[in-house]
């Protein structure tokens, strides 16, 4: 995945999941200073929270759309003779 510049476009859901993986790897890496590891963990929890929130929002949206679809009366817009 190409590295995104900080402050550019927001990450997509998939990018966020990928970032979570990356963060876990860096925290595990003993070369990473502890302060950085804790900061990364803080970031990771924030990203996971965002992911959960967007998933819940999507779920709500599906529920609303499903309700709309159930109420939809399907009549093609052909020209009536």
């Amino acid at each position: 995945m190409p590295q995104k510049l900080k402050g550019s476009e927001p990450m997509t859901f998939e990018e966020k999941l990928h970032r979570l993986e990356e963060i876990a790897e860096r925290v595990e890496d003993a070369q990473t200073p502890l302060e950085d590891a804790i900061a990364l963990y803080r970031d990771g929890v924030k990203i996971a929270k965002e992911c959960g929130e967007s998933l819940r929002a999507y779920e709500d949206e599906i529920l609303v759309l499903k309700k709309e679809a159930d109420e939809l009366v399907l009549v093609p817009h052909f020209d009536a003779p």
Binding site: A24, Y58, E59
Partner: protein, 388 residues
Amino acid sequence: MKTVFSVTQVNKYVKKMMDNDALLAGLFIEGEISNFNAHSSGHFYFTLKDAGAAISAVMFASHTENINFLPKNGLKVVVFGRISMYEKTGQYQLYAEFMEPAGIGGLQLAFAQLKEKLEAEGLFDHERKREIPRFAKTIAVITSPTGAAVQDIIRIIRERNRCVKIIVAPTIVQGEHAAPDIVRAIGEVNEHGEADVIILGRGGGSVEDLWAFNEESVARAIAASRIPVISAVGHETDYTIADFTADLRAPTPTAAAQIAAFDQNAASAHLRDLQSDLTHELTRKLRINFDDTRFLLQNLTRATNERLANEWKTLSHREALLEKISPNAVFKRGFALVRGNEIDAPITSVKSLANGQTIKITFADGTVSAKIERGAEPCHKSSKEANP
């Protein structure tokens, strides 16, 4: 002198007379079949009669295979053959070579011949059939505007679909002007271009009534149509050249309407099913993403905890090391810290001490005050200072 002939001579003579007659050598006779007998040898024996007369007839097996109907008593037929005599009995009879039912027979022959011709040209080939659209927006109906068929077709289309557009192209559907009129209508509907499918047909009738749909010009117009054509001529048992040429043959006009117009309710229900499937699929995908996120977060937390545990381990290890070099450890080995009474800085040299001066000495377990009794005597044990 009277000449006396034998029976054989007479029959031979009469037979010769008959065989030399130009008319009797080949003629068409119309009559009704009676006493029909299909002999096991394959020959047909029968009597051809009309209101006032009868003639014996035979059709040999070599000719019977050329007729495409089953002769039976009471059937009016036209027979082609020659008249000759059977010498043994002196009976003259019709030696039939071909026969067809009277009236429609000629049409049937024309039908068979045209069918064979167009089939050989490939006009009926499956590969050239166009697909009937599943969701036609406009249906053209080419038929008589006054017949029952057009009413049936419109009623069935409307029952199934309230929105599809119907264009009726009125035509004559029987008589000698029917074929050119049908050809014109097919051309016009194509020129107009809006229809997605054409229903071409008429209600039931006699073979003669349906005849226009057996004309070559109509067949060619169907084949040339850019818009797919559903044929619907007469009843289920009627087959016309138009049926063979059309992209689809519907058994009846109402069946054609059912094929051409999609069922709006069924389509809606199907769409609903698809939507429901879609919702289900999306929800499933979301669940998987939830699980993925949860797993990744757990993984990250575990990694962070492990990292912290490792740091604790390192820290306690370092503390143990530190313990070894701490002042307490030095005190324990018998050293003490000497400081001035007023100032806290450690006293590191005897030079700064005078007789009677008070100092503080700190041990591992506490601090005491002490007084210097003897003044400074420079230490000459230089070996200790020189090699620290």
